[in-house]
Amino acid sequence: MTTPSHSHTQTIAIISQKGGAGKTTLAIHLAAAAARAGRVSLLIDTDPQASASQWAEWRKGAPPEVIDSAPPRIPAKIAAAAAQGAELIVIDTPPHADLAASKAAECADLVLIPCRPSAFDLAAMRTTIRLVELLARPAFVVFTAGPPHAPHIYADARELVTGFGGQTCPIILPDRAAYRHAVAAGQTVFELDPDGKAAGEIEQLHMWACEQLHMSTRSQSQAHERKSA
């Protein structure tokens, strides 16, 4: 088994067999939240549709930085990026891509599986959970793109995931128009509406992910001080 951790670099893989669960949106925003907290973050886009790369082009190089990668080259790119000072690496993967998903999961310290709280998506997510089980990676299903106020739906979905032997992330990212508006404009929800609900939820998810990775959740201003010292 590949050992993921490169001492100071943590890697999060976003995988899901089903399209439309918001993998790229989640990947972009996690990397952006880390950059906003002062970390050197990098998004590795393994999707041949290159949505994240397209988004990065629209924003003309504003952080987080996005690079592409063919799935077999993911481990080498992570190692190189770690050597170049990356602190958080997020890997976005295409749907229905066993190779990219397993390569990304193999290299990851944390795997997030975005999933809509719908029957079709939950059924497909079972396959993804089995994949990460095989690779023995800490993995959590993140409910995305569902209705904002539907506690019963999320409770049922959680129960189902637990029944499959999976774990769920306590933070839910419901469907918010802010994601569509932000991404289409080459922005993040932090730039579009920093005080909005979407920004708040992403920030909570980022903090939660940092806890899972045993990374400090404080702003990284100290890291900058260290560098300048």
Partner: protein, 87 residues
């Protein structure tokens, strides 16, 4: 802010192209046969004898080659202790 640009496979477009209007391009409409929507191909290279035997077997049992392959894959999943998918 191009700390990791050296790691990209796809090199950034030159300035002229980058200056083009930054608007989402129209999504290309690639016609997909209905039978392939939401499905993916699994293929391999085998001896012509095996190919012929599979086609013959499928024909003899009134199945399509795809049906036969689906059955075979489920059998092999069971053999290795995995759950069959069956579609």
């Amino acid at each position: 802010m191009n700390r990791f640009a050296n790691l990209a496979d796809r090199k950034p477009k030159d300035e002229a192209q980058a200056a083009a209007p930054a608007s989402p391009p129209p999504i290309a409409q690639v016609p997909t046969p209905p039978s392939r929507v939401g499905r993916k191909a699994i293929s391999g290279y085998f001896a012509p004898e095996l190919s012929l035997a599979l086609h013959t077997c499928a024909r003899r049992h009134g199945l399509s080659l795809q049906d036969l392959m689906a059955e075979a894959f489920d059998d092999v999943l069971r053999k290795y202790g995995e759950s069959p998918i069956g579609r």
